[in-house]
Amino acid sequence: MTEEQLLAGLRAGHQAAYAALVTQYQGAMRAVAIAIVGSSSADEVVQDSWLAVVRNIDGFAERSSLKTWLLTITANTAKTRLKKQRREVFIDDLRGPHGSIDNDRFQPDGHWQQGPAGWHSDSPEALLDAQELRDCLEHTLSSLSELQRSVLLLRDRQCLELEEICNLLDISHSNVRVLLHRARLSVFATLEHFEVTGEC
């Protein structure tokens, strides 16, 4: 379904269009909600956001993409929930279950001590063929901080621009970069661990 067809269906109140919309964008909306209010209230925020979408769809002027509009509604709903209570952006350093690519991988002069291991394939499809790896990655994602996980998903899964993530989540450009980098290294470490040991 194209975005135009989807919009026409939504405006006409077609159930099938709503179902398609929810299935397509729920993941991105949850990532935004989790980053702002945390996992415990995220589902409620997402549900409220969907109701706001239904109420306001006629006013959607198509100046932004549908996705940007949906994520802005979600971020606003989440921020209202916080009642302007400014949350400290916590650039934590929770380590993923398989660590990161950190100092102990390098010699004192900055060269690799232990270089990255080769992987059996460079194809994501081939790597993800193993159910165990998919479960293992879910485990790594769930062990990251909520903010790290959301930033990673919004960037690498939903392909949002860094600037868009900064605006939605009200965090600085440099913080987004730090969060993203740490999350990516944790995912890298999980993939490498799985490729070397065959286990999670």
Binding site: G13, V22, T23, Q47, W112, P124, R177, V187
Partner: protein, 86 residues
């Protein structure tokens, strides 16, 4: 001269196009001579695509949500009838 540790520290910025021209030049110079860093960057890009392609979890309680949305839609329709010209 950029070390492998420096390169890893700048790797995300490289993927996101956030490096300055000067940084890009020194990263490229390093990659030209360092097999292990080339492998690292290649695999970092692969892991980015792996996250992209990780299957979505199904939406929990989709039916309940859709019912709530339909109810909201009906409410909107009713409100519009009331608000409309008499």
């Amino acid at each position: 001269m950029l070390t492998c540790r420096d390169l890893v520290a700048q790797s995300s910025d490289l993927l996101d196009g956030e490096l300055s021209l000067r940084q890009r030049i020194s990263v490229r110079a390093h990659l030209a001579i360092c097999f292990r860093c080339r492998r690292f960057i290649r695999q970092l890009r692969v892991s980015q695509r792996v996250i992209r392609q990780l299957p979505d979890a199904p939406v929990a309680e989709l039916d309940t949500l859709l019912r709530a949305m339909a109810a909201q839609q009906r409410k909107k329709g009713t409100a519009a009838d009331h608000d409309g010209p008499q």
